[in-house]
Protein backbone atom coordinates (compact mmCIF):
# COMPACT_ATOMS: atom_id res chain seq x y z
CA UNK A 1 0.00 0.00 0.00
CA UNK A 2 1.31 3.44 -0.89
CA UNK A 3 2.06 6.16 1.66
CA UNK A 4 0.25 8.69 -0.50
CA UNK A 5 -3.05 8.05 1.24
CA UNK A 6 -1.64 8.22 4.78
CA UNK A 7 -3.71 10.76 6.69
CA UNK A 8 -3.15 12.38 10.04
CA UNK A 9 -6.30 13.03 12.00
CA UNK A 10 -6.08 14.67 15.46
CA UNK A 11 -2.78 12.92 16.09
CA UNK A 12 -3.87 9.51 14.79
CA UNK A 13 -1.90 8.15 11.87
CA UNK A 14 -4.40 6.60 9.45
CA UNK A 15 -3.37 4.35 6.55
CA UNK A 16 -5.82 6.21 4.38
CA UNK A 17 -8.73 8.60 4.85
CA UNK A 18 -11.48 6.00 4.31
CA UNK A 19 -13.67 4.74 7.16
CA UNK A 20 -16.91 2.86 7.59
CA UNK A 21 -19.92 4.91 8.68
CA UNK A 22 -21.39 3.94 12.01
CA UNK A 23 -24.37 1.61 11.82
CA UNK A 24 -23.50 0.22 8.40
CA UNK A 25 -20.58 -2.00 9.33
CA UNK A 26 -21.87 -3.79 12.44
CA UNK A 27 -19.00 -4.33 14.84
CA UNK A 28 -16.64 -4.95 11.92
CA UNK A 29 -17.66 -8.61 11.72
CA UNK A 30 -20.02 -8.61 8.73
CA UNK A 31 -17.84 -8.08 5.67
CA UNK A 32 -14.77 -10.17 6.52
CA UNK A 33 -15.45 -12.59 3.67
CA UNK A 34 -15.22 -9.70 1.19
CA UNK A 35 -12.21 -7.78 2.53
CA UNK A 36 -10.00 -7.40 5.58
CA UNK A 37 -11.21 -4.42 7.68
CA UNK A 38 -7.52 -3.66 8.34
CA UNK A 39 -7.30 -2.02 4.89
CA UNK A 40 -9.42 0.89 6.09
CA UNK A 41 -8.06 4.03 7.71
CA UNK A 42 -10.41 3.39 10.60
CA UNK A 43 -13.37 1.23 11.44
CA UNK A 44 -16.30 3.13 12.91
CA UNK A 45 -18.53 0.64 14.67
CA UNK A 46 -22.17 1.03 15.53
CA UNK A 47 -23.61 3.00 18.42
CA UNK A 48 -23.16 1.75 21.96
CA UNK A 49 -25.59 2.86 24.67
CA UNK A 50 -25.32 2.12 28.41
CA UNK A 51 -28.09 -0.49 28.32
CA UNK A 52 -29.09 -2.84 25.48
CA UNK A 53 -31.59 -1.37 23.03
CA UNK A 54 -34.00 -3.52 21.04
CA UNK A 55 -34.45 -0.85 18.39
CA UNK A 56 -37.62 0.05 16.52
CA UNK A 57 -40.30 -2.37 15.30
CA UNK A 58 -40.30 -3.32 11.60
CA UNK A 59 -40.47 -2.20 8.91
CA UNK A 60 -37.28 -0.31 9.59
CA UNK A 61 -35.99 0.46 6.13
CA UNK A 62 -37.27 1.47 2.74
CA UNK A 63 -35.49 2.07 -0.50
CA UNK A 64 -36.10 5.51 -2.00
CA UNK A 65 -34.90 7.04 -5.27
CA UNK A 66 -31.10 6.67 -5.13
CA UNK A 67 -31.25 6.35 -1.38
CA UNK A 68 -32.79 4.63 1.58
CA UNK A 69 -34.71 5.51 4.70
CA UNK A 70 -33.86 3.78 7.93
CA UNK A 71 -35.28 3.87 11.42
CA UNK A 72 -33.29 1.18 13.18
CA UNK A 73 -33.46 2.99 16.50
CA UNK A 74 -29.89 2.44 17.78
CA UNK A 75 -30.33 -1.29 18.27
CA UNK A 76 -27.23 -2.49 20.14
CA UNK A 77 -26.31 -5.01 22.83
CA UNK A 78 -25.37 -2.34 25.40
CA UNK A 79 -22.13 -1.29 27.07
CA UNK A 80 -21.53 -4.44 29.10
CA UNK A 81 -21.88 -6.75 26.09
CA UNK A 82 -19.67 -4.38 24.11
CA UNK A 83 -16.91 -4.59 26.72
CA UNK A 84 -17.18 -8.34 27.25
CA UNK A 85 -17.91 -9.70 23.81
CA UNK A 86 -17.06 -7.12 21.18
CA UNK A 87 -14.11 -5.06 22.42
CA UNK A 88 -11.63 -7.98 22.47
CA UNK A 89 -12.13 -8.64 18.75
CA UNK A 90 -11.84 -4.93 17.91
CA UNK A 91 -8.41 -4.75 19.54
CA UNK A 92 -7.15 -7.34 17.06
CA UNK A 93 -8.57 -5.69 13.99
CA UNK A 94 -5.35 -4.18 12.64
CA UNK A 95 -6.51 -0.61 12.12
CA UNK A 96 -7.84 2.31 14.15
CA UNK A 97 -11.15 1.79 15.89
CA UNK A 98 -13.71 4.50 16.48
CA UNK A 99 -16.67 3.66 18.71
CA UNK A 100 -19.93 5.52 18.22
CA UNK A 101 -21.40 6.60 21.56
CA UNK A 102 -25.11 7.30 22.00
CA UNK A 103 -27.41 8.00 24.90
CA UNK A 104 -30.62 9.52 26.16
CA UNK A 105 -28.98 11.79 28.75
CA UNK A 106 -25.61 13.50 29.10
CA UNK A 107 -24.76 11.00 31.83
CA UNK A 108 -25.29 8.18 29.31
CA UNK A 109 -22.70 9.65 26.95
CA UNK A 110 -20.25 10.16 29.79
CA UNK A 111 -20.74 6.64 31.11
CA UNK A 112 -20.09 4.95 27.74
CA UNK A 113 -17.21 7.28 26.84
CA UNK A 114 -15.43 6.69 30.17
CA UNK A 115 -15.89 2.94 30.00
CA UNK A 116 -14.59 2.66 26.44
CA UNK A 117 -11.59 4.85 27.28
CA UNK A 118 -10.73 2.76 30.34
CA UNK A 119 -11.18 -0.41 28.32
CA UNK A 120 -8.69 0.81 25.72
CA UNK A 121 -10.50 -0.84 22.79
CA UNK A 122 -10.92 2.35 20.75
CA UNK A 123 -8.65 5.04 19.36
CA UNK A 124 -11.36 7.69 19.28
CA UNK A 125 -15.02 8.16 20.12
CA UNK A 126 -17.71 9.41 17.79
CA UNK A 127 -20.35 11.14 19.87
CA UNK A 128 -23.72 10.63 18.23
CA UNK A 129 -25.88 13.67 18.90
CA UNK A 130 -27.76 13.27 15.66
CA UNK A 131 -29.75 10.03 15.51
CA UNK A 132 -33.16 11.02 14.15
CA UNK A 133 -34.82 7.74 15.08
CA UNK A 134 -35.00 7.71 18.86
CA UNK A 135 -37.46 9.61 20.98
CA UNK A 136 -35.07 11.08 23.52
CA UNK A 137 -31.43 12.07 23.46
CA UNK A 138 -29.56 11.97 20.19
CA UNK A 139 -31.03 14.64 18.00
CA UNK A 140 -32.46 16.43 21.04
CA UNK A 141 -28.85 17.43 21.82
CA UNK A 142 -27.70 17.79 18.26
CA UNK A 143 -30.40 20.18 17.11
CA UNK A 144 -29.29 23.17 19.16
CA UNK A 145 -25.88 24.74 19.68
CA UNK A 146 -26.56 24.76 23.42
CA UNK A 147 -27.39 21.04 23.56
CA UNK A 148 -24.41 20.12 21.37
CA UNK A 149 -22.11 22.23 23.53
CA UNK A 150 -23.40 20.62 26.73
CA UNK A 151 -22.69 17.07 25.51
CA UNK A 152 -19.29 18.03 24.09
CA UNK A 153 -18.28 19.78 27.30
CA UNK A 154 -19.34 16.86 29.53
CA UNK A 155 -17.62 14.19 27.41
CA UNK A 156 -14.52 16.37 26.98
CA UNK A 157 -14.25 16.65 30.77
CA UNK A 158 -14.75 12.89 31.17
CA UNK A 159 -12.17 11.55 28.71
CA UNK A 160 -8.77 12.44 27.32
CA UNK A 161 -9.06 10.45 24.09
CA UNK A 162 -10.09 12.12 20.83
CA UNK A 163 -13.79 12.89 20.49
CA UNK A 164 -15.59 13.40 17.21
CA UNK A 165 -19.03 15.01 17.31
CA UNK A 166 -21.41 13.57 14.74
CA UNK A 167 -23.69 16.31 13.52
CA UNK A 168 -27.23 16.32 12.22
CA UNK A 169 -28.20 18.03 8.97
CA UNK A 170 -31.71 18.55 10.35
CA UNK A 171 -30.91 22.02 11.69
CA UNK A 172 -31.17 25.58 10.46
CA UNK A 173 -27.46 26.33 10.51
CA UNK A 174 -25.08 23.42 10.93
CA UNK A 175 -22.04 25.72 11.15
CA UNK A 176 -23.36 27.20 14.38
CA UNK A 177 -23.58 23.72 15.98
CA UNK A 178 -20.14 22.88 14.61
CA UNK A 179 -18.62 26.00 16.13
CA UNK A 180 -20.24 25.22 19.49
CA UNK A 181 -18.68 21.74 19.48
CA UNK A 182 -15.29 23.15 18.52
CA UNK A 183 -15.45 25.73 21.30
CA UNK A 184 -16.10 22.99 23.89
CA UNK A 185 -13.11 20.94 22.82
CA UNK A 186 -14.27 18.54 20.08
CA UNK A 187 -11.30 17.11 18.21
CA UNK A 188 -13.22 16.61 14.96
CA UNK A 189 -16.66 16.58 13.38
CA UNK A 190 -18.45 13.80 11.52
CA UNK A 191 -20.94 15.15 9.08
CA UNK A 192 -23.55 14.46 8.14
CA UNK A 193 -25.92 12.02 9.82
CA UNK A 194 -29.10 11.18 7.89
CA UNK A 195 -31.71 13.66 6.72
CA UNK A 196 -35.11 13.19 8.31
CA UNK A 197 -37.55 11.80 5.77
CA UNK A 198 -40.72 9.81 5.35
CA UNK A 199 -42.69 7.58 2.99
CA UNK A 200 -46.39 6.83 2.94
CA UNK A 201 -47.65 3.41 1.92
CA UNK A 202 -50.49 4.31 -0.43
CA UNK A 203 -52.09 0.86 -0.09
CA UNK A 204 -52.49 1.02 3.68
CA UNK A 205 -52.64 4.85 3.70
CA UNK A 206 -50.22 4.80 6.62
CA UNK A 207 -46.57 5.77 7.07
CA UNK A 208 -44.41 3.08 5.51
CA UNK A 209 -41.96 2.81 8.40
CA UNK A 210 -43.22 1.66 11.80
CA UNK A 211 -41.42 4.67 13.25
CA UNK A 212 -43.24 6.86 10.66
CA UNK A 213 -40.11 8.94 9.96
CA UNK A 214 -36.59 7.74 9.22
CA UNK A 215 -33.18 8.93 8.19
CA UNK A 216 -32.44 9.36 4.49
CA UNK A 217 -29.01 8.30 3.26
CA UNK A 218 -27.35 7.31 0.02
CA UNK A 219 -26.45 9.19 -3.18
CA UNK A 220 -29.66 11.25 -2.90
CA UNK A 221 -28.23 13.24 0.04
CA UNK A 222 -24.68 13.72 -1.22
CA UNK A 223 -24.97 17.28 -2.55
CA UNK A 224 -26.54 18.39 0.74
CA UNK A 225 -23.70 16.77 2.68
CA UNK A 226 -20.99 18.26 0.46
CA UNK A 227 -22.53 21.71 0.87
CA UNK A 228 -22.63 21.38 4.66
CA UNK A 229 -19.02 20.18 4.85
CA UNK A 230 -17.95 23.07 2.61
CA UNK A 231 -19.78 25.66 4.72
CA UNK A 232 -18.48 24.22 7.97
CA UNK A 233 -14.90 23.88 6.75
CA UNK A 234 -14.84 27.65 6.35
CA UNK A 235 -16.02 28.20 9.91
CA UNK A 236 -14.04 25.72 12.05
CA UNK A 237 -10.41 24.69 12.22
CA UNK A 238 -10.87 21.15 13.54
CA UNK A 239 -10.89 18.34 10.97
CA UNK A 240 -14.08 17.11 9.35
CA UNK A 241 -14.90 13.52 8.47
CA UNK A 242 -17.24 13.84 5.49
CA UNK A 243 -20.02 11.37 4.76
CA UNK A 244 -23.36 11.17 2.99
CA UNK A 245 -23.86 9.16 -0.17
CA UNK A 246 -20.23 8.36 -0.97
CA UNK A 247 -20.22 5.42 -3.42
CA UNK A 248 -16.96 5.84 -5.31
CA UNK A 249 -13.58 7.55 -5.12
CA UNK A 250 -14.87 10.54 -7.10
CA UNK A 251 -17.55 11.12 -4.45
CA UNK A 252 -14.94 10.89 -1.70
CA UNK A 253 -12.80 13.44 -3.55
CA UNK A 254 -15.71 15.89 -3.70
CA UNK A 255 -15.98 15.78 0.07
CA UNK A 256 -12.24 16.17 0.54
CA UNK A 257 -12.03 19.09 -1.83
CA UNK A 258 -14.96 20.63 0.03
CA UNK A 259 -12.86 20.45 3.17
CA UNK A 260 -13.11 16.95 4.68
CA UNK A 261 -9.83 15.45 5.91
CA UNK A 262 -11.30 11.94 5.88
CA UNK A 263 -14.47 10.29 4.62
CA UNK A 264 -16.86 7.55 5.74
CA UNK A 265 -18.83 5.14 3.57
CA UNK A 266 -22.18 3.82 4.73
CA UNK A 267 -25.12 3.07 2.48
CA UNK A 268 -22.89 2.24 -0.50
CA UNK A 269 -21.25 -0.51 1.54
CA UNK A 270 -24.68 -1.99 2.34
CA UNK A 271 -25.49 -2.07 -1.37
CA UNK A 272 -22.10 -3.38 -2.50
CA UNK A 273 -19.94 -5.35 -0.07
CA UNK A 274 -16.80 -4.32 -1.94
CA UNK A 275 -17.54 -0.57 -2.02
CA UNK A 276 -14.93 0.40 0.59
CA UNK A 277 -11.94 -1.38 -0.97
CA UNK A 278 -13.02 0.02 -4.34
CA UNK A 279 -12.97 3.57 -2.99
CA UNK A 280 -9.53 3.12 -1.41
CA UNK A 281 -8.16 1.78 -4.70
CA UNK A 282 -9.79 4.61 -6.60
CA UNK A 283 -8.16 7.21 -4.35
CA UNK A 284 -4.78 5.57 -4.83
CA UNK A 285 -5.26 5.68 -8.58
CA UNK A 286 -6.28 9.32 -8.44
CA UNK A 287 -3.28 10.31 -6.32
CA UNK A 288 -0.99 8.53 -8.76
CA UNK A 289 -2.60 10.01 -11.86
CA UNK A 290 -2.45 13.49 -10.36
CA UNK A 291 1.12 12.92 -9.10
CA UNK A 292 0.19 13.87 -5.54
CA UNK A 293 2.76 13.32 -2.81
CA UNK A 294 -0.09 13.13 -0.33
CA UNK A 295 -3.85 12.92 -0.77
CA UNK A 296 -4.02 15.68 1.85
CA UNK A 297 -2.95 18.13 -0.85
CA UNK A 298 -6.47 18.22 -2.22
CA UNK A 299 -8.21 18.71 1.14
CA UNK A 300 -10.06 22.00 1.04
CA UNK A 301 -9.11 22.68 -2.58
CA UNK A 302 -12.63 23.90 -3.33
CA UNK A 303 -12.72 25.89 -0.15
CA UNK A 304 -10.72 29.13 -0.30
CA UNK A 305 -11.38 30.19 3.28
CA UNK A 306 -10.28 26.88 4.75
CA UNK A 307 -7.68 26.93 7.50
CA UNK A 308 -6.65 23.58 6.11
CA UNK A 309 -6.35 20.79 8.64
CA UNK A 310 -4.39 17.95 7.12
Amino acid sequence: MSETLATKLFGLELKNPVMSASGTFGFADCYKDFFDPAIMGAVVVKAVTPLPRAGNPPPRTSETPSGMLNAIGLENPGLRAYLEKIAPSLRRIGTKVIVNVAGSTIDDYVEVARAVEEDGSADALEINISCPNVKEGGLAFGSTAKGAAAVTEAVRRAVGMPIILKLSPNVTDITEIASACEAEGADALSMINTLLGMRVDIKSRRPYLANATGGLSGPAVRPVAVRMVWQTAQKVSIPIIGMGGISCAEDALEFMMAGATAVAVGTAQLADPTAIPGIIEGLERYAKDEALASIGEIVGAACPGRKVVR
Binding site: G23, D29, C30, A54, P58, E63, I72, A271, D272
Partner: protein, 256 residues
Protein backbone atom coordinates in the same frame (compact mmCIF):
# COMPACT_ATOMS: atom_id res chain seq x y z
CA UNK B 1 -16.90 -24.83 1.59
CA UNK B 2 -18.19 -21.86 3.52
CA UNK B 3 -18.07 -18.11 3.22
CA UNK B 4 -19.65 -15.60 0.90
CA UNK B 5 -18.44 -14.45 -2.48
CA UNK B 6 -19.27 -11.50 -4.69
CA UNK B 7 -19.26 -12.47 -8.31
CA UNK B 8 -20.38 -11.59 -11.75
CA UNK B 9 -22.86 -14.29 -12.66
CA UNK B 10 -23.63 -14.98 -16.30
CA UNK B 11 -27.20 -15.74 -17.30
CA UNK B 12 -27.41 -19.00 -19.21
CA UNK B 13 -31.12 -19.66 -19.27
CA UNK B 14 -34.46 -18.17 -18.29
CA UNK B 15 -38.07 -19.20 -18.54
CA UNK B 16 -41.52 -17.99 -17.53
CA UNK B 17 -42.76 -20.48 -14.94
CA UNK B 18 -46.11 -18.90 -14.00
CA UNK B 19 -47.87 -15.59 -14.35
CA UNK B 20 -45.27 -12.99 -13.32
CA UNK B 21 -42.74 -15.59 -12.25
CA UNK B 22 -39.35 -16.41 -13.69
CA UNK B 23 -36.74 -19.10 -13.46
CA UNK B 24 -33.24 -17.94 -14.22
CA UNK B 25 -30.09 -20.03 -14.29
CA UNK B 26 -26.68 -18.43 -13.96
CA UNK B 27 -23.13 -19.54 -14.22
CA UNK B 28 -21.97 -18.55 -10.72
CA UNK B 29 -19.15 -20.88 -9.69
CA UNK B 30 -18.34 -19.36 -6.29
CA UNK B 31 -21.92 -19.26 -5.07
CA UNK B 32 -22.99 -22.54 -6.71
CA UNK B 33 -20.19 -24.42 -4.95
CA UNK B 34 -21.15 -23.06 -1.54
CA UNK B 35 -24.94 -22.72 -1.53
CA UNK B 36 -27.13 -24.87 0.70
CA UNK B 37 -30.93 -25.13 0.46
CA UNK B 38 -32.63 -22.27 2.31
CA UNK B 39 -29.81 -19.80 1.74
CA UNK B 40 -30.21 -16.72 -0.41
CA UNK B 41 -28.24 -14.34 -2.59
CA UNK B 42 -28.29 -10.55 -2.88
CA UNK B 43 -28.65 -9.54 -6.51
CA UNK B 44 -27.50 -6.08 -7.60
CA UNK B 45 -29.78 -4.34 -10.04
CA UNK B 46 -29.11 -1.46 -12.36
CA UNK B 47 -32.73 -0.40 -12.52
CA UNK B 48 -33.05 3.35 -12.53
CA UNK B 49 -33.05 4.89 -9.05
CA UNK B 50 -32.54 1.60 -7.24
CA UNK B 51 -29.72 1.25 -4.81
CA UNK B 52 -29.94 -1.86 -2.67
CA UNK B 53 -29.42 -5.41 -3.86
CA UNK B 54 -32.44 -7.75 -3.87
CA UNK B 55 -32.58 -10.84 -1.64
CA UNK B 56 -33.63 -13.93 -3.63
CA UNK B 57 -33.74 -17.49 -2.34
CA UNK B 58 -31.49 -20.03 -4.00
CA UNK B 59 -33.75 -22.42 -5.89
CA UNK B 60 -31.05 -24.71 -7.21
CA UNK B 61 -27.27 -25.00 -7.21
CA UNK B 62 -25.07 -27.49 -8.96
CA UNK B 63 -21.41 -27.45 -7.93
CA UNK B 64 -20.52 -29.69 -10.90
CA UNK B 65 -21.72 -27.44 -13.70
CA UNK B 66 -21.38 -24.36 -11.44
CA UNK B 67 -24.95 -23.26 -12.09
CA UNK B 68 -27.22 -21.34 -9.77
CA UNK B 69 -30.98 -21.27 -10.26
CA UNK B 70 -33.30 -18.56 -8.98
CA UNK B 71 -37.09 -18.69 -9.14
CA UNK B 72 -38.83 -15.44 -8.27
CA UNK B 73 -41.89 -13.28 -8.70
CA UNK B 74 -41.52 -10.08 -10.67
CA UNK B 75 -42.85 -7.58 -8.14
CA UNK B 76 -41.01 -4.28 -8.52
CA UNK B 77 -38.25 -2.35 -10.23
CA UNK B 78 -35.41 -4.64 -9.16
CA UNK B 79 -37.01 -7.94 -10.10
CA UNK B 80 -38.36 -6.43 -13.35
CA UNK B 81 -34.83 -5.38 -14.30
CA UNK B 82 -33.58 -8.87 -13.51
CA UNK B 83 -36.40 -10.53 -15.47
CA UNK B 84 -35.39 -8.54 -18.57
CA UNK B 85 -31.82 -9.87 -18.66
CA UNK B 86 -30.89 -11.95 -21.70
CA UNK B 87 -28.68 -14.99 -21.98
CA UNK B 88 -25.06 -13.97 -21.74
CA UNK B 89 -25.78 -10.89 -19.59
CA UNK B 90 -23.75 -10.45 -16.42
CA UNK B 91 -25.46 -9.84 -13.09
CA UNK B 92 -23.53 -8.98 -9.91
CA UNK B 93 -24.59 -10.98 -6.87
CA UNK B 94 -23.19 -12.00 -3.51
CA UNK B 95 -23.83 -15.01 -1.36
CA UNK B 96 -24.72 -17.56 -0.31
CA UNK B 97 -26.17 -15.85 2.74
CA UNK B 98 -27.96 -16.84 5.93
CA UNK B 99 -28.72 -20.12 7.60
CA UNK B 100 -30.27 -22.76 5.37
CA UNK B 101 -32.44 -25.77 6.16
CA UNK B 102 -31.09 -28.57 8.34
CA UNK B 103 -31.06 -31.71 6.27
CA UNK B 104 -30.33 -35.28 7.30
CA UNK B 105 -33.82 -36.51 8.21
CA UNK B 106 -35.06 -39.47 6.19
CA UNK B 107 -38.75 -38.99 5.52
CA UNK B 108 -39.56 -35.34 4.88
CA UNK B 109 -42.57 -33.29 3.93
CA UNK B 110 -42.07 -29.90 2.25
CA UNK B 111 -44.84 -27.32 2.23
CA UNK B 112 -44.63 -24.33 -0.08
CA UNK B 113 -47.02 -21.53 -0.94
CA UNK B 114 -46.73 -19.10 -3.86
CA UNK B 115 -43.18 -17.80 -4.33
CA UNK B 116 -42.27 -19.71 -1.18
CA UNK B 117 -41.95 -22.79 -3.36
CA UNK B 118 -38.69 -21.47 -4.81
CA UNK B 119 -36.23 -22.73 -2.15
CA UNK B 120 -38.06 -26.04 -1.79
CA UNK B 121 -37.06 -27.25 -5.25
CA UNK B 122 -33.43 -27.09 -4.10
CA UNK B 123 -34.23 -28.62 -0.71
CA UNK B 124 -36.08 -31.54 -2.33
CA UNK B 125 -33.13 -32.27 -4.63
CA UNK B 126 -30.70 -32.15 -1.73
CA UNK B 127 -32.77 -34.44 0.53
CA UNK B 128 -33.10 -36.96 -2.30
CA UNK B 129 -29.40 -36.70 -3.10
CA UNK B 130 -28.65 -37.53 0.53
CA UNK B 131 -30.86 -40.62 0.26
CA UNK B 132 -33.99 -39.34 1.99
CA UNK B 133 -37.48 -38.92 0.63
CA UNK B 134 -39.17 -35.57 0.12
CA UNK B 135 -42.87 -35.15 -0.52
CA UNK B 136 -43.66 -31.66 -1.76
CA UNK B 137 -47.03 -30.05 -1.05
CA UNK B 138 -47.53 -27.01 -3.27
CA UNK B 139 -50.15 -24.34 -2.72
CA UNK B 140 -51.15 -21.38 -4.85
CA UNK B 141 -54.09 -19.08 -5.47
CA UNK B 142 -54.83 -20.69 -8.81
CA UNK B 143 -53.27 -22.70 -11.62
CA UNK B 144 -51.76 -19.65 -13.31
CA UNK B 145 -49.99 -18.54 -10.12
CA UNK B 146 -48.40 -21.90 -9.39
CA UNK B 147 -44.76 -21.89 -10.43
CA UNK B 148 -43.56 -24.84 -12.50
CA UNK B 149 -47.04 -26.39 -12.40
CA UNK B 150 -46.16 -28.89 -15.14
CA UNK B 151 -43.18 -30.13 -13.12
CA UNK B 152 -45.14 -30.25 -9.88
CA UNK B 153 -48.04 -32.16 -11.41
CA UNK B 154 -46.02 -35.36 -11.33
CA UNK B 155 -45.17 -36.59 -7.86
CA UNK B 156 -46.28 -33.59 -5.81
CA UNK B 157 -49.49 -32.76 -4.00
CA UNK B 158 -51.10 -29.58 -5.30
CA UNK B 159 -53.78 -27.42 -3.74
CA UNK B 160 -55.19 -24.28 -5.31
CA UNK B 161 -57.64 -21.93 -3.65
CA UNK B 162 -60.02 -22.02 -6.62
CA UNK B 163 -59.49 -25.68 -7.42
CA UNK B 164 -58.12 -24.94 -10.91
CA UNK B 165 -55.34 -27.44 -10.28
CA UNK B 166 -55.04 -30.20 -7.71
CA UNK B 167 -57.42 -30.14 -4.83
CA UNK B 168 -59.44 -27.10 -3.93
CA UNK B 169 -58.45 -25.20 -0.80
CA UNK B 170 -55.36 -24.46 1.23
CA UNK B 171 -52.26 -26.59 1.31
CA UNK B 172 -52.81 -27.28 5.02
CA UNK B 173 -55.75 -29.54 4.03
CA UNK B 174 -53.60 -32.25 2.45
CA UNK B 175 -50.91 -31.64 5.10
CA UNK B 176 -53.29 -32.50 7.94
CA UNK B 177 -54.60 -35.53 6.12
CA UNK B 178 -51.14 -36.84 5.27
CA UNK B 179 -49.62 -36.31 8.70
CA UNK B 180 -52.58 -38.08 10.31
CA UNK B 181 -51.92 -41.24 8.32
CA UNK B 182 -48.15 -41.29 7.99
CA UNK B 183 -45.14 -40.67 10.20
CA UNK B 184 -42.72 -38.08 8.78
CA UNK B 185 -39.37 -37.25 10.41
CA UNK B 186 -39.19 -33.59 9.46
CA UNK B 187 -41.22 -30.81 7.87
CA UNK B 188 -40.04 -27.69 6.06
CA UNK B 189 -42.17 -24.75 4.96
CA UNK B 190 -41.83 -21.52 3.05
CA UNK B 191 -44.64 -19.19 2.06
CA UNK B 192 -46.87 -16.40 3.32
CA UNK B 193 -47.04 -15.91 7.10
CA UNK B 194 -50.70 -17.06 7.52
CA UNK B 195 -49.79 -20.29 5.70
CA UNK B 196 -46.71 -20.76 7.88
CA UNK B 197 -48.80 -20.31 11.02
CA UNK B 198 -51.35 -22.88 9.86
CA UNK B 199 -48.54 -25.28 8.93
CA UNK B 200 -46.97 -24.73 12.35
CA UNK B 201 -50.26 -25.68 14.06
CA UNK B 202 -50.70 -28.76 11.90
CA UNK B 203 -47.13 -29.94 12.52
CA UNK B 204 -47.38 -29.26 16.26
CA UNK B 205 -50.52 -31.44 16.38
CA UNK B 206 -48.73 -34.20 14.52
CA UNK B 207 -45.65 -33.87 16.74
CA UNK B 208 -43.60 -33.16 13.64
CA UNK B 209 -40.52 -30.90 13.87
CA UNK B 210 -40.74 -27.99 11.44
CA UNK B 211 -38.32 -25.47 9.98
CA UNK B 212 -39.70 -22.38 8.27
CA UNK B 213 -38.08 -19.86 5.98
CA UNK B 214 -39.14 -16.24 6.49
CA UNK B 215 -39.11 -13.51 3.90
CA UNK B 216 -38.62 -9.80 4.41
CA UNK B 217 -37.17 -6.78 2.69
CA UNK B 218 -33.48 -6.39 3.44
CA UNK B 219 -30.81 -3.75 3.35
CA UNK B 220 -27.48 -5.54 3.25
CA UNK B 221 -28.17 -9.29 3.67
CA UNK B 222 -25.11 -9.79 5.88
CA UNK B 223 -26.18 -8.52 9.30
CA UNK B 224 -24.67 -5.04 9.07
CA UNK B 225 -27.70 -2.77 8.85
CA UNK B 226 -30.22 -4.40 11.23
CA UNK B 227 -32.94 -3.50 8.76
CA UNK B 228 -34.45 -6.94 8.13
CA UNK B 229 -36.22 -7.54 11.42
CA UNK B 230 -39.79 -8.81 11.07
CA UNK B 231 -42.74 -9.15 13.42
CA UNK B 232 -42.56 -12.93 13.28
CA UNK B 233 -38.99 -13.31 14.53
CA UNK B 234 -38.51 -12.11 18.10
CA UNK B 235 -36.47 -13.87 20.77
CA UNK B 236 -36.21 -12.83 24.44
CA UNK B 237 -37.54 -9.38 23.60
CA UNK B 238 -34.92 -8.84 20.87
CA UNK B 239 -35.58 -8.70 17.14
CA UNK B 240 -33.87 -11.45 15.21
CA UNK B 241 -32.17 -10.64 11.94
CA UNK B 242 -33.86 -12.55 9.14
CA UNK B 243 -30.70 -12.30 7.04
CA UNK B 244 -28.26 -13.70 9.55
CA UNK B 245 -30.19 -15.51 12.29
CA UNK B 246 -32.40 -16.91 9.50
CA UNK B 247 -33.94 -16.89 7.01
CA UNK B 248 -34.61 -20.47 8.17
CA UNK B 249 -35.77 -20.79 11.76
CA UNK B 250 -37.14 -23.61 13.88
CA UNK B 251 -40.89 -22.97 13.86
CA UNK B 252 -41.14 -22.85 17.66
CA UNK B 253 -38.66 -19.93 17.72
CA UNK B 254 -40.76 -17.72 15.47
CA UNK B 255 -44.32 -17.10 14.21
CA UNK B 256 -46.25 -15.94 17.25
Amino acid sequence: MSGMVYEEARLVGSADIAEGMKRMTFLAPGIARRARPGQFVMVSTEARGTLLARPLGVSGADPEDESLTLRFAVVGKGTSWLAERRNGDAVRMYGPLGHGFTTGAKDCVLIGGGTGLAPLFFLKEEIEREGGSALLLAGAKDRLCLMESDVLESGCVIATEDGSLGERGLVTGPLRRLTAGRRFDMAYACGPVPMLKAVKDACAQAGLPLEVSLETRMGCGVGACNGCTCDQAVKDGAWLKVCKDGPVFRAEEVLR
